[in-house]
Amino acid sequence: MAADLSPSPTGAAQASASLPARSRGERLNEWLDRNARHIFLWPAVVLILVFSIFPLVASLVIAFSRIRLSGGGFQVRFVGWRNFDKQLFGSEQFHFLGTFGPLSLMGWVFGLAVTAGVIWWIAAYLRAGPTFIGTLGRLFPWGLVLGLGWLLSYTALSGRPFGTLLTTYFYVLVGCAIQFVIGMGLAYLCSRAIRGRNFFRVLFFLPLMITPIGIGYTFRMLADTSKGPFSPLWQAAGLGDFSWATDPWAARMFIIIADSWQWIPFVFIMLLAAFENVPRDYSEAASMDGASEWQIFREITWPQIMPVAATVMLIRVIEAFKIVDLPNIMTSGGPGIATESMSLHALFAWRSLDLGQSSAVAYLLLFVTVVTCVSFFNLVVLRRVRS
């Protein structure tokens, strides 16, 4: 692009006329060349600063204020922690955290089990020779696991509805686990010597390309118990009047199924390539020695694909926290708030023009996403790569 800037002289008459222009072009060229290292990097830095960092900081300011939209402009008033206070302890607590009940027996057992697990984890780390930074960094996942565990005990396990925080974690943990297991299974099957491998490969890849909106509506059609394709089955099972949209767990599972339909292809395609990269020599030697397929997988194949698998799941977890299209389309967050993810929570708050609450929820989402993903990266991805 720089070379195009210098005009090429055509003919003797023009040569003298274009001489000053040419030298200016050359000077520009020289300048571009000298500053190339900046010109390559700065556009990306500026774009990210303007459209990512600036909004991020602005959003933080909004999260600590109350915004009133008045006649085209807006008025901002600082309210300190009040937005967060409302979500965590105030009138919106049922929405974000859930409704707290008296601890049931199951709640006690689960909460204590989680506490014991975290204590064991802390002890194991302290025995292994802790560093200051390492301990400080691990305080976040320890606290998060403890907090989420007891939150689950006080809400769902004590028979009360839980809020968007746990719903989001449900999508992330259960959804990603399902997608990992099925995606890896399919990739493993497809990596074997089978006919029609290319056909399966292309076919299994397709759902990833389809817009989440389309998937949401398509699955709504499929799930209709009176007009959908499976309605004869529903009726035969005596569930003709059952609507999955009115049952919290059925609705959540349904969103997970649609989400998995879309994202299993991602896990599949990445792990398939990883399986195909594993050299065959070891596994063939092992199978000559009479090792079973399971042994070969566990001892030879798995250690080699583990780093790729960890990275793939990190990407998947990062994207899973953002889930918003599917619950919005399939259930609008209902019944009640049962399927509302944190992104959707923030979107609804924005729709009711409560920008402060919207940003506060978005920031809480950012916080748990960063803690979860950074912990996963440090504790799983890096460790596996090192060992």
Partner: protein
């Protein structure tokens, strides 16, 4: 020999291969069926949709083109505008983010940067100060900006020698890639207000810029690994011949990284094509994209127009499916370069 012992090394036992094919076919059915249902619903009459499930065209029900007629003839103005919007936005935002992202990735892979920690700190402080001043105390943003620039220069001069730390390429790379963790809802409200204040809401430019930035981390991440895996010899000999960094990038590096570029471009284009949440915020009518058009089929008093909606979704996914079928090998290979190295 039992059913489950392989006849030869490297081959599957008959029982094992039967189970493999069975599982694969079950999954294939699970993948195909929703797409099939979508396609046949777009050819169903209103009655056929509402009176219970029918499965096979020409046997169960007579296909009807009414939904397609609605979409392609009666609502042609709306459909074509959204379609053209989506094409423009997907192409332009992809071009922008691939160009800028791969330039940055190349620079990070080849040039050593060492920004001062103090400069970064000063910048963050000044930006926060401007935001607090304009938003909380109603200071005019031009005034606040000018003061902040002056402060920034002073702070860089003053702090420069006191705080010695410098950042490296790895930090810049991590900073860029980590932007992907940001959920769109975190940044969309300020972006909305920003475009509103400059009167760019509901325009192509707003959506193109936003999508380009949202997808920039993916481009940087994938292309960085690709560039890092290219041997430097060719570039160095071109540099010895007097080629500038621009020429080397255009003539040597880009041709060598075609597979990576293709995969990245496709991936980013598909993400831009399917994006919904940001388009919902940033467009109302003129810049409406296809996902918004799909969602709009839900808005009437007649409930959801399943037949027309199915037709819209089919129209929307056709080009992407065609791309995917033709180029999926590219995609997985291109992405994997990044994933294998992490």
């Amino acid at each position: 020999m039992s059913l489950f012992t392989p006849r030869r090394v490297g081959h599957m036992s008959p029982g094992g291969s039967a189970i493999t094919y069975l599982l694969l076919i079950v999954w294939a059915a699970f993948v195909i069926f929703p797409i099939y249902w979508l396609v046949i619903t777009s050819f169903k009459s209103v009655n056929d949709v509402n009176s219970g499930p029918v499965f096979l065209p020409f046997i169960d029900f007579q296909p009807s083109l009414h939904a397609w007629r609605d979409l392609l003839i009666e609502d042609w103005a709306d459909t074509s505008r959204s379609y053209i919007n989506s094409i423009i936005i997907a192409l332009a935002s992809t071009a922008l983010s691939v160009l800028i992202g791969s330039m940055a990735a190349y620079a990070l892979a080849r040039v050593t940067y060492a920004p001062r920690l103090s400069t970064v700190l000063a910048f963050v402080l000044c930006m926060a100060a401007v935001l607090v001043a304009t938003m909380a105390y109603g200071v005019d943003w031009r005034l606040a900006g000018a003061v902040a620039v002056a402060l920034f220069v002073l702070m860089v001069r003053g702090l420069g020698n006191r705080i010695a730390g410098r950042l490296g390429n790895g930090d810049i790379l991590f900073w860029m890639i980590s932007q992907r963790i940001l959920a769109p809802v975190v940044v969309v409200v300020p972006i909305y207000m920003m475009f509103q204040s400059v009167g760019l809401l509901d325009t192509h430019i707003a959506i193109i810029l936003t999508y380009a930035v949202i997808n920039l981390p993916i481009v940087v991440w994938l292309m960085y690994d690709f560039f890092a895996s290219i041997p430097r010899d060719l570039e160095e000999s071109a540099q010895l011949d007097g080629a500038t960094m621009f020429t080397v990038f255009r003539e040597v590096v880009l041709p060598l990284s075609k597979p990576g570029l293709a995969a990245t471009t496709l991936l980013v284009m598909i993400l831009a094509w399917n994006e919904y949440l940001l388009a919902l915020f940033l467009s109302t009518a003129d810049a409406q994209t296809m996902p918004i058009l799909v969602a709009a089929m839900n808005a009437g008093e007649r409930g959801i127009l399943w037949w027309t909606m199915s037709a819209v979704i089919v129209v929307m996914i056709l080009p992407v499916l065609a791309l995917a079928v033709v180029l999926q090998r590219f995609i997985s290979k291109g992405i994997l370069v990044g994933a294998v190295k992490g």
